[in-house]
Symmetry: C2
Amino acid sequence: MARDFAFELVAQDRRTGARAGLLHTPHGTVETPLFMPVGTQAAVKTLSQQDLEGLGAQVLLANAYHLYLRPGAELVARAGGLHGFMGWGRPILTDSGGFQVFSLSGLTRIEEEGVYFRSHLDGSRHLFSPEKVMEIEHHLGADFIMAFDECTPYPCTEEYARNSMELTVRWAQRCAARHTQLQQEQEVPQALFGIVQGSVYPALRQRCAAELEALDLPGYAVGGLGVGEPPEMMRETLTSTLSHLPAHKPRYLMGVGLPHDLVEGVAAGVDMFDCVIPTRNARNGTAFTRLGRVRLKNAVLAEDPGPLDPECSCLTCTRYSRAYLRHLFQTREILGLRLATYHNLHFFLELMRRMRRAIIAGEFAGWQAEFLAAYRD
Amino acid sequence: MARDFAFELVAQDRRTGARAGLLHTPHGTVETPLFMPVGTQAAVKTLSQQDLEGLGAQVLLANAYHLYLRPGAELVARAGGLHGFMGWGRPILTDSGGFQVFSLSGLTRIEEEGVYFRSHLDGSRHLFSPEKVMEIEHHLGADFIMAFDECTPYPCTEEYARNSMELTVRWAQRCAARHTQLQQEQEVPQALFGIVQGSVYPALRQRCAAELEALDLPGYAVGGLGVGEPPEMMRETLTSTLSHLPAHKPRYLMGVGLPHDLVEGVAAGVDMFDCVIPTRNARNGTAFTRLGRVRLKNAVLAEDPGPLDPECSCLTCTRYSRAYLRHLFQTREILGLRLATYHNLHFFLELMRRMRRAIIAGEFAGWQAEFLAAYRD
């Protein structure tokens, strides 16, 4: 199994923690650092799988909580797993749904066994235990599957964070045990990633990382960041946490973030990212460019004949004017959501490709300074 | 101008009124019979212009009433007309908006001068006169522009229908006069089509056709059908109306209809169609196939691994299962609306291409009988 998900470091920046790698999976090899578009319900909102291939998306993210409720994990398994169900041949990662259980469902009760919750769709009662979540993620059949954790809220006391982190560690141990059993019955291997919690407390993060490393998992994620803490605190926590993770395994920063967060994350040594920002903000009418955001509903664009981003080569920017995009948002045409989503994902994916090239060329630190000087959030 | 929109008959069926033609426009030559996807607000809902090119759409329809309100016809003119504004290089037809003025706006008052109405968006007061509508359609710059008419409701008395038809004729005369003036100031020619009204009264339809023919317009439409009258009545009215229209000019049946309506319309001698059915029904979860409709929300599809339409070669049917499409509709993913729209338009456009081939091969009557025997509405 370790060989199936081998991670090769191709280049490391001398002045930062940035690194470029190759991550092997049963559905092909992907290039890191990479950004994973979010397809919560087995669809990236407004985009087709053909679009995502055209954009060069390497890994899609889907969500175990949502897919467990609809259409059901066993149905997906009978359809050939998520790859067969969605018609997507490249790698997939499933989030365990821990975050959604806490954020979406009502009447959540956390116990040692797991989390009792009610469906946000019909109020029905369910239990997510580490074992149950592993079974769901095995049914879904993604290449990368995430352990079931408690995403610690911010702010929280050190005591809450410690108890929560310790629970996350015990759950990760149970996930690993059940995953090992399930793998024996499966043909296609899956890589279980552990999730480091511990809020903004360095000692807790360090202990969590050490406990998870003992499980010898093929990759590790940093969770519980980008949940409201100040930017400096996120940066410090990320840097110190990464220093406690094994350098030869992929590192995934969950749910972060804005373009400058990605750049700083790569500089800190992150290999994988996911975030709803490019897709969700697109639907709210916000587009990203190298210089910052463009508000597509802004009246100033009404007669602007130029492309959304003059430096962009995507299908949106090479064909449609800012004036037309604004019209689509004014008239609530679905095409507007789609063209903005396409552009934003192109921007995020291209940003990752540029960083990879800069790392390999040995020019990352200079590139980073230039990018951050130009980008206005 | 007549030469700019020359209509060549390529083949005529011996047993029906069906005919295949070539219609020349300043934006290229199109093949008839043809179906025009409806892009009311300068966008076919959910689809990109790249999609529409891939589908082989030859002419797009847009709506003068909607575009006059948003973003404004003069703004579109400054953006290079609809072709420039939308980024669409093939022909466009604009409906005059008469139908929308009557159906969408409140407090409509019809006078000899024109129609006084309030915007359905903000309640502001406007007047659409024949001259005003010609100015709007000239600003929009479509290849084909429709005269401003009153779309007679069904049912209505013969007296109402006569007065309404006579008003439509006087308005068409005013449209033609203003159009002639405006053409002198314009570089790119536009073809003004007249609209035959007269409800289901053959004598009124005949008189309207004769009056409009006297204007020597480059094409004629049949309006006021598919508005609630029984199918036999639509068929009879259409056939008798077409018999009074010049055979050497294109004939356009407005706003109709279902697949079998298109087949029967072609058999009667119609060259051009538009309808929201393929796009609107797709968004409601109804897909069309050669055997009839498929309800994409139907639970029976939940585990169906086959394509929506096994005979279809579109991007939806060659990649996604019925189970996945149903999931997208269950979870209200925008991608579902888009994949269904793509398939339905492919079905409608392919239907037209098949009819054209059958007409040219001299096999239309047999093809028609076979199609109608298999299709269950």
